[in-house]
């Protein structure tokens, strides 16, 4: 794990009309770690990642990626930097098969705009194999026929296939059963082991304490604090989520979060 953050966000603010969704948010994630992003409903988790992914613009603030200040105007910009997002609702097309979904919007084609199906099929197979996703029988079956866990695996595999450096997972286990949740969490850990920076959004503290290296807590669109998984407790995090009590953690410098209560 490197010490300099791969992605660093400083003082990011975002309003929707008169609603202040994010106020002066600071956030960072390093390569090779799983950074959990938690908070109650409306805390601004989804808004924050949509800003990073280029789905929303942001009003003010700074994004530093790989040591360089960047501007992200759309999903393509984010993808070029190596940022991939796996959304809560997966953003897969049910009517397309696994290969087609993996390459959606970035199809390989030759000079005549013809799709290079064999190449895409081959790379899909390799990617899934590399992530040890073995439950999918045929990569030519439509996504509609896959189980929730398999879909999630496809979505995650799609995110990592593009030599991405940062993968953001929005509630990846929300709709899954116990066994499938375990499968996906295993996949998340593997991503970090392979040296990617992973941001994990979840409501489920059990999942977070099983996978995360550090935990960032948001509340009502503001920072509450950053916690080391190894030194904190579920209780402390719950308190931070619900009451917004900031806790100073040794070894981590943080902008003094404002207390809203």
């Amino acid at each position: 794990m490197s010490d300099t953050p791969l992605l660093e966000i400083r003082d990011l603010s975002k309003t929707f009309g008169s609603v202040q969704a994010l106020t002066d948010i600071d956030f960072e994630v390093r390569s090779g770690e799983v950074m959990a992003l938690v908070g109650d409903n409306g805390a601004g988790k989804s808004t924050l990642i949509k800003c990073i992914a280029g789905i929303h613009g942001y009003d003010s603030g700074e994004i530093v990626f790989d040591g360089k200040p960047v501007t992200i105007h759309g999903p393509i910009d984010a993808a070029k930097l190596g940022i991939e997002v796996v959304y809560q609702d997966l953003a897969l097309c049910d009517n397309l098969d696994v290969v087609q979904n993996m390459f959606l919007g970035r199809e390989l084609r030759d000079f005549l705009f013809r799709l290079k199906e064999p190449a895409m099929e081959q790379r899909t197979g390799e990617t899934l194999k590399g992530l040890r996703v073995t439950t999918i029988k045929s990569i030519r079956q439509t996504v509609a026929t896959l189980s929730g866990g398999q879909r999630q695996s496809v979505a995650v595999a799609r995110a990592v296939m593009w030599n991405s450096k940062l993968v953001i997972l929005d509630e990846p286990t929300a709709a899954l059963g116990v066994a499938q949740t375990e499968q996906v969490l295993e996949l998340v850990r593997r991503l970090a082991e392979q040296g990617l920076a992973v941001v994990l959004i979840s409501h489920n503290l059990h999942d977070i304490f099983e996978t995360a290296t550090r935990i960032t807590v948001l509340r009502l669109g503001r920072n509450v604090g950053v916690y080391e998984r190894s030194t904190t407790t579920q209780q402390e995090v719950v308190q931070a989520i619900t009451a917004g009590v900031p806790t100073k953690v040794a070894g981590i410098s943080e902008a003094a979060p404002e207390i809203v209560a």
């Binding site: 789905i55 959606l104 919007g105 199809e107 045929s138 990569i139």
Partner: protein
């Protein structure tokens, strides 16, 4: 050519899955496909066989070579328009203006070729006609994609507007005779017997080359290749091509008698493959290529399946929508000219009647889902064939126009019900 094989074919499994295991799974997967609502072209092919069998036994003069050629000529116009409908339906949208857009294209082309008017050459007249409907289609598509007005309303307005324009333009003349063979040949030209055979051979050979190329590409990528499936498909294509040419060459049509022939003798000449059949095939291949083998086609399916997912994947959804409405307009224009070629003129009825509903029905009967994202271009050809066969058979059997409407409507209702049931099955088979 109409085999269900392509849909049943499961493709290539993950590396590591044994070949033998996949072979065994083929039949099971076919059953699984049907159970999960992935019916493909199976229902429409079975339906067509039933319809042909019924009329073959009940209507005299139905099961003849001459009538086979008739059906081809009758379906050509609707088929062309329905090709465009497929793309619109794949997006989950609808285009109600296609009927009169076909009329607009035909009227424009007819006006341009008028000897006492602009007197443009036929090919230029056709291009101008198609350009006009392409622009109209993209304009309607822009309102749908950029402003967000439902396509139903935009194209309903288009239906009224373009009908009005046709009435205004033709108010004085009523009818414009088309004299250029560039247009008229679309419905009146027949290839000689030998050229017909040559065409069938070229198509079969080209198909074989394409299949071979695909197999080589897969092998080169280290993927397993199943040799017998393409072989079956190739055999199907060969039978369909040579069969069609054989029947068309066998057909005869009335002809002008040479001077001095007694009036009591009916003169005939042998017919041959109509140009219209080749046109339908050329557009079928071209548009199938566009839908299945290009990024644009892939994006059409993606937008129809999940527009938000497509947007997040970086696809320019608005651009896809606008282009699809342009395609819809252009194909309506092509269909309009084929229809005008049959009459060798355009009149106040151009683009009216049941043309719009027949075209949309053709695509839907051919298995293209109204909910978007599911269906293939060839569905339009098959659906149009069903509609033309029913109309033709009932006509020959001396049934009224009313009966034709009722039967076509019933088939459409059946097709849509099947689509809805298939959709529900597919959702259920999901998680």
């Amino acid at each position: 050519m109409t085999s269900d094989a392509e849909i049943v074919a499961p493709g290539i499994g993950l590396p590591g899955g044994g070949e033998a295991e996949q072979e065994r799974g083929l039949w099971q997967r076919a059953v699984g496909n049907i159970k999960s609502g992935n019916l493909g072209v199976l229902p429409v092919v079975l339906g067509e066989i039933l319809i042909v069998a019924y009329f073959g036994f009940t209507a005299t003069n139905f099961f003849t070579a001459g009538n086979f050629v008739n059906v081809i000529l009758q379906m050509a116009g609707v088929t062309m328009i329905a090709y465009g409908v497929v793309f619109v339906l794949l997006l989950g949208e609808i285009d109600l203006s296609i009927g009169y857009l076909s009329g607009i294209a035909a009227v424009t082309a007819a006006t341009m070729q008028l000897p006492d008017g602009r007197n443009y050459p036929g090919w230029l007249a056709i291009l101008i006609g198609l350009a006009v409907v392409a622009v109209i289609g993209s304009a309607q598509g822009t309102v749908v994609a950029k402003v967000g007005v439902p396509s139903f309303v935009v194209t309903l307005a288009g239906l009224l507007i373009w009908q009005g324009v046709i009435l205004q333009v033709l108010e004085l003349r009523g009818v414009i005779i088309i004299e250029t063979n560039w247009i008229n040949y679309a419905a009146t030209y027949y290839f000689s017997a030998n050229v017909g055979w040559l065409i069938a051979a070229i198509i079969t050979g080209a198909y074989a080359l394409v299949e071979l190329g695909g197999a080589i590409g897969q092998r080169r990528a280290g993927l397993s290749v199943r040799p017998w499936m393409p072989a079956i498909k190739l055999a199907g294509v060969a039978v369909a091509c040579f069969g069609t040419v054989a029947i068309c060459n066998h057909a005869t049509r009335p002809a002008a008698c040479p001077a001095g022939t007694p009036l009591t003798v009916n003169c005939t000449q042998s017919q041959g493959l109509p140009l219209a059949a080749l046109l339908m095939l050329v557009f079928l291949v071209g548009l199938t290529f566009l839908a299945k083998r290009t990024t644009f086609g892939r994006h059409v399916y993606a937008v129809g399946g999940n527009a938000e997912a497509a947007r997040r994947a970086g696809i320019n959804v608005a651009r896809v929508r606008i282009l699809v409405f342009a395609i819809s307009g252009i194909m309506a224009g092509v269909g309009g000219m084929v229809l005008a070629a049959r009459l060798q003129s355009v009149n106040l009825q151009a683009g009216g009647g049941t043309l719009l509903l027949d075209s949309i029905s053709a695509a839907v009967i051919g298995g293209v889902s109204l909910f978007g994202g599911r269906g293939e271009v060839r569905g339009a050809l098959l659906g149009s064939l069903v509609i033309a066969t029913v109309a033709n058979g009932l006509n020959i059997g001396n049934y009224s126009t009313g009966t034709i409407y009722i039967v076509t409507g019933a088939i459409l209702l059946f097709a849509v019900t099947l689509d809805s049931v298939a959709r529900r099955l597919q959702e259920r088979s999901g998680r």
